[in-house]
């Protein structure tokens, strides 16, 4: 059964794409995470801290 599950394609490797990939991956579904930039992370990786907790973004 496990082997017959279809994969999921995620387009965009920012915070939304990463979260979706982690959720699906944890459910046992194989994910292809496509990002056009050389590394994933998106805009969030460019930020220093994030509101409203002022936590580090990476």
């Amino acid at each position: 059964m496990e082997n017959k599950l279809k994969d999921v394609l995620i387009i965009g490797g920012g915070i939304a794409g990463i979260q979706a990939a982690l959720d699906l991956g944890d459910m046992g579904i194989k994910v292809h995470l496509v990002e056009r930039k050389p590394s994933i992370g998106g805009i969030m990786a460019q930020l220093d801290k994030t509101f409203p907790t002022n936590d580090c973004s990476i």
């Binding site: 279809k6 999921v8 394609l9 959720d23 991956g25 056009r36 050389p38 805009i43 994030t50 409203p52």
Partner: protein, 374 residues
């Protein structure tokens, strides 16, 4: 980011783009172009030996908003995943003229491969999630703010890089004009947002990020002054109102209700902000050392072309039309969307939407075609 990089079920295809998508819910075939990095991803460990002697030095670094230069062989950012170098074919002398090859001689692992070609991958997938995010608005057309002409007028994302310890100034808030520390900083809200000529909507994240930026500025330089010029604060979210109050009471940020009409410059390249204080109904000016434009955020460049390839409808502002009957459903069964690509959203909201989209996609995968989405 690290977690996803290590996850056994996640195949990261960075530096890649979707070329086309065929098929139907439960049975899509995606064609993905994996662009040539000219570096073998399996061998490279991003040690950086290759870039030390690269003679091409003056390429504006995209990640650092052009505030720093990079070389023709580069790592997109230091903690980037996958942790590999990339050669920029538009600027590499070897790839353009066939001469140089310095990076190849410096790489002890033999990871540089000038012959590498783009790879076309065919992926069979059951569902697709669009999470293409945003690009920031370029404020150059708003000539009254002088962005691009006045060196000490910068955008919010440029500020983020300046104040970041891994950024071009090592986390010091140095003015672009003379490299001096900026002690008096103004933040200008609604630059391009809520503007009928440009983005006729509220970008929703700028009020909060301006407060955050001002807090960080004060943390770095406790004797500095911060001014936020806002149309009206739209801090809607859990703990957001408290954050706004904290900014004022704990950090001493000055909130001024009024849209900045014009920015001029004095002889020391200090920006002068002209505005109407809507509480006193007076036209005033404020001389600062640096002005930060809280620029609008819009659907990412190229997202409309992608939407066409997928057959997904867009809304009036170019965002992916999602929401009916479930928040992450698009008009195409089996294609879901989340994050800023469906409309302005901050990080917590993007994360919540992403989990919703992941669950909808999982339903398709687990239940197969038995459960149609629309």
């Amino acid at each position: 980011m690290l977690d996803v990089g290590r996850h056994p079920n996640v195949n990261i295809l960075a530096y890649s783009e979707v070329e086309s998508l065929k098929g139907d819910i439960g049975n899509f075939t995606a064609t993905v172009r994996k662009k040539a990095r000219y570096v073998d991803e399996d061998i490279c460990n991003a040690c950086g030996d290759c870039l030390v002697k690269c003679p091409v030095k003056k390429i504006p670094d995209d990640f650092d908003m052009g505030l720093k230069n990079r070389k023709a062989v580069y790592q997109y950012f230091s903690q980037g995943i996958p942790a590999v170098m990339t050669i920029d074919p538009d600027n590499c002398i070897y790839l353009k003229k066939g001469k140089c090859g310095v990076c190849k001689t410096k790489c002890v692992k033999g990871a540089i491969d000038y012959e590498q070609k783009d790879k076309i991958l065919e992926l069979d997938v059951g569902a697709v999630i669009v999470a293409t995010g945003l690009d920031v608005f370029d404020p150059t057309p708003l000539t009254q703010y002088g962005y691009g002409k006045m060196k000490n007028v910068i955008t919010g994302l440029e500020y983020e890089r300046l104040i970041n310890a891994t950024g071009p100034t090592g986390g010091n808030l140095l003015r672009p004009s003379d490299g001096e520390m900026a002690h008096k900083v103004a933040y200008v809200q609604c630059v391009g947002s809520r503007d009928f000529n440009y983005c006729n909507y509220c970008s929703s994240v700028c009020c909060m990020y301006a407060i955050k930026d001002a807090m960080l500025g004060r943390e770095h330089e406790p004797d500095s002054e911060s001014y936020i010029f806002h149309t009206d604060f739209r801090n809607v979210g859990k703990w957001f109102q408290k954050y706004e109050i904290r900014g004022k009471e704990e950090y001493g940020i000055n909130y001024i209700r009024g849209r900045v009409a014009d920015i001029t410059e004095d002889e020391n390249q200090n920006p002068i902000l002209w505005y109407e204080d809507t509480e006193t109904r007076e036209v005033k000016s404020l001389n600062v050392e640096m002005a930060v434009l809280s620029t609008a955020a819009m659907a990412a460049k190229g997202s409309s072309e992608l939407a066409k390839k997928l057959g997904v409808n867009l809304s009036e502002h170019g965002f992916v039309a999602a929401g009916l009957p479930y928040p992450s459903d698009t008009n195409v069964p089996g294609i879901f969307a989340c994050g800023f690509c469906i409309g302005p959203a901050d990080i917590p909201e993007s994360v919540a939407q992403a989990s919703a989209a992941a669950n909808r996609a999982a339903e398709v995968v687990f239940l197969g075609e038995k459960k149609k989405t629309a």
